[in-house]
């Protein structure tokens, strides 16, 4: 049938996320006060009418499974299709390294799933991307252009240069070269969203599997550039790829900018997440809260400035929280001072503690720590 099928690669590991990805895959790292990173891409798919979505997992995915559940919070718990979680199947050959070597490896591992895709086109994305993009428009552009593969990219600066993929474009928007692992950024950075037909996907999976080629970038975008028409879709809106702690901190703090929030959270394309039943947030007469994003269920009795509080955070009287990200159910004791701290879920900071990080090197405190 006509339409798009969603595939999200949620197996990547980014050691540079340090404590944040110690107990979870980067896809399920909390972001923006009440979301996980993968919520953005799942919501983009659902908002574009894509209700068949496969999520490819590999290792450390307990937290992601907890978060996604049946998919009902994204309206993806459906009789036909809906959310399918794809841990490695038995077909992938055993190797010592702990994850897939690349997208083609991952796709080869779920080949039987791919064969049963109902739609004639597939959109493949990573799960480290913070973006609110109307994928329907990308799909329409793909269909209108006659391209074999459409790659979404941005001209905005950002991203970790050596980890990014860059494209060279001709004047008509066709990709003439794909480059990665370089030190000087090029103009168009890949956002790693690709649209191609199901048939082409099956063909390249077969071809690459047979040759033990594991990288989509290398084996398809580079090596097949001669045979395939590969087109760029230049996204002019906001995007962020979260692959390191520093990037996590900077991109989180950007959310305090109303213009960026307007781009990420337009009313007609909401970002869905797993709902928790918590009460409203309460700000005490002794508390104060400025330039901050505060999710529900928080109790603010101290002072909070330039910070992001996730659901259920408490800041006790006399405490001062500045330039911090406090995740779900973190608590800060009386008269403690926190600057430039990323406190993971359930972190308890006792009374009269002083924890100071720096904007250039925010301090992350691992989940469940007590200080």
């Amino acid at each position: 049938m006509k339409g798009l099928h969603g595939l999200i690669f949620a197996y990547d590991k980014y050691p540079a996320l340090r404590e944040l990805a110690e107990h979870r895959s980067p896809a399920s790292v909390p972001f923006g006060g009440r979301y996980r990173i993968i919520d953005f891409m799942l919501s983009n798919l659902v908002n574009a009418g894509v209700f068949d979505v496969g999520v490819i997992l590999h290792g450390n995915y307990q937290s992601l499974l907890d978060h996604l559940g049946s998919g009902k919070d994204w309206d993806l718990s459906r009789i036909h299709g809906g959310l399918r979680l794809l841990p490695p199947f038995g077909t992938v050959q055993h190797r010592d390294d702990s994850t897939f070597r690349g997208k083609m490896d991952a796709l080869y591992g779920v080949r039987s799933y791919l064969e049963n895709i109902r739609q004639d086109h597939v959109v493949m994305t990573d799960s480290d991307l913070i973006i609110n993009i109307p994928l329907q428009q990308v799909y329409e552009a793909h269909m209108a252009s006659g391209a074999d593969i459409t790659c979404v990219c941005t001209a905005a600066p950002g991203g970790a240069v050596e980890e990014s993929t860059y494209f060279e474009l001709d004047q008509d928007g066709w990709i003439t070269d794909t480059i990665f692992g370089i030190r000087t950024p090029r103009q168009y950075r890949s956002l790693d969203i690709f649209i191609l037909s199901k048939q082409l996907l099956l063909d390249v999976v077969e071809e690459c599997g047979g040759h033990d080629h594991y990288s989509f970038r290398n084996a398809v975008l580079q090596n097949m550039a001669g045979q395939l028409k590969i087109r760029a879709y230049v996204w002019e809106g906001y995007s962020a790829q979260i692959r390191s702690l520093a990037e996590y901190y900077d991109r989180s703090m950007e959310l305090l900018d109303p213009a960026i929030r307007r781009e990420l959270f337009p009313k007609d394309r909401p970002i869905y997440t797993k709902e928790l039943n918590v009460s409203s947030t309460y700000v005490d007469p002794d508390g104060g809260c400025t330039n901050s994003l505060v999710a529900d269920g928080c109790t603010v009795e101290g002072t909070v400035e330039n910070s992001i509080l996730f659901r259920g955070v408490s800041v006790a009287k006399g405490a001062h929280v500045k330039d911090c990200i406090l995740m779900q159910n973190a608590s800060v004791g009386r008269e403690s001072v926190l600057h430039h701290i990323i406190a993971d879920k359930n972190v308890k900071v006792a009374e009269r503690r002083t924890l100071i990080g720096h904007a250039k090197y925010p301090m992350a405190i691992a989940k469940n720590s007590e200080i």
Partner: protein, 402 residues
């Protein structure tokens, strides 16, 4: 399939004493406490108590209520066997059928629904109370006493007792007399409008009552007195804790303020959660110029002005220089730059123009003239306009008198 106990929730009343707030919705769908609607309280109480089958009797403007309840999933009431069911009045053979004539008639018309579950006990609930209560404890007392009917009661201050339906009880809390709003109350045990009945008993009384042409088919007026007169065992169940009937504008405002003070009605307390259907919106944002004190807010809010002692529901915007005090702002309200809102209830999506003034501080007014100001859902107050205390405007900006 048989259930030991099911609940029937009376949600069909117009809620006329909420005036403009219920112009387009049934009272149980009125927003409360920033994240909730009134009906979340009885529905969550059912779920927390382990009652998984709830009939919701609707009649007046049910569309918003129906879509809010949906499949019942936010309250865990989307069940394969049981769950939440919306029960509007319906036609029967021979072009019969009628609107629900009274609370008892509403249950009478749904005897077929209750019989499908063949329950031992039926809990009758109203859709206009704010409280946390374990109904199964009440059912247990009912069982232990072998009662035909158990009515939950609350000790109210003696000087307020004449506003309530009062139960006079013997030493074992058996109800011996029921007085509706007595001038000289003999007891201060007020009915909370929550009943447990042994279903077969109730079924029989409902059928008898229906054949009585002089009956107004109401639990309080007809069924309870008839059961008492017949000598049925009627038990008073003493409830302790927060309970408020939010059927009037003042009591709705009061209950919101009670929630703020986090005394008896502590919604942050997690052992008895109140569930609600949650809209998708980013976390609340408090801007650089925001001053928020002793207030609650929820997702989608964007506050740059000052908010004092107020309840902000989802997607409320308070612009820089605006001042909101002692008010309840329902979802989607915008208070523009420099506007002042004091002691007011603003319905859903109300827009308060820049520099406008709504309501006022009781200290500044003659107590006989002062009161809560109310703007009905969708109302628009122009820039610089003044809405005096004790004034109520509907969505068309017409004044409505209480």
């Amino acid at each position: 399939m048989k259930k030991e106990c099911i609940a029937m929730l009376l949600a069909g009343g117009q809620g006329s004493r909420l005036y403009v707030l219920t112009g387009n919705v049934a009272k149980p769908a009125v927003p409360f406490g920033g994240k909730y609607r009134i009906i979340d309280f009885p529905l969550s109480n059912c779920t927390n108590a382990g009652i998984d089958t709830v009939g919701v009797l609707t009649q007046y403007k049910p569309l918003e209520l129906n879509s809010y309840i949906g499949s019942g999933q936010p309250w865990d009431l989307d069940r394969a066997n049981g769950g939440v069911h919306i029960l509007p009045p319906y036609m029967v053979e021979g072009d019969k059928g009628s609107w629900y004539k009274g609370t008892a008639n509403a249950i009478y018309q749904n005897i077929g629904f209750v019989d499908m579950y063949d329950p031992e006990y039926v809990v009758i609930l109203s859709g206009d109370h704010i409280y946390k209560m374990n109904y199964m404890k009440m059912v247990q007392s009912h069982k232990n006493a072998g009662a035909a009917c158990t009515i939950s009661v609350l000790e109210v201050p003696w000087d307020e007792a004449s506003r309530f339906g009062i139960m006079n009880v013997d030493g074992e809390d058996n109800i011996v007399e029921f007085q509706e709003k007595p001038k000289q109350p003999k007891s201060n045990l007020a009915s909370m409008g929550i009943y447990v009945f042994s279903w077969q008993k109730l079924r029989q009384y409902l059928i008898e009552d229906e054949s009585d042409p002089n009956s107004s088919n109401d639990f309080g007026k007809n069924i309870i007195p008839k059961m008492l007169a017949a000598g049925e065992k009627m038990l008073a169940y003493r409830f302790e804790g927060y309970w408020k009937d939010v059927g009037t504008l003042e009591s709705l405002w009061d209950a919101n303020m009670d929630m703020l003070s986090r005394g008896e009605l502590d919604l942050l307390e997690s052992s008895w959660p109140i569930y609600s259907r949650i809209p998708s919106a980013p976390p609340a944002f408090m801007g650089k110029t925001a001053k928020v004190e002793h207030s609650v807010m929820t997702q989608g809010c964007d506050v740059s002005g000052s908010v004092f002692n107020s309840v902000l529901s989802d997607n409320v915007v308070v612009e820089e220089g605006a001042d909101v005090q002692y008010s309840v702002l329902m979802p989607g309200v915008t208070v523009k730059r420099g506007a002042v809102v004091k002691y007011a209830i603003l319905g859903e999506n109300v827009q308060i123009g820049a520099g406008a003034t709504v309501g006022g501080d009781p200290m500044d007014y003659d107590p006989n003239l002062w009161g809560i100001s109310v703007v009905g859902p969708g109302g628009v107050i122009a820039d610089g306009e003044t809405v005096a205390p004790n004034t109520m405007l509907n969505r068309c900006h017409e004044e409505v008198h209480r």
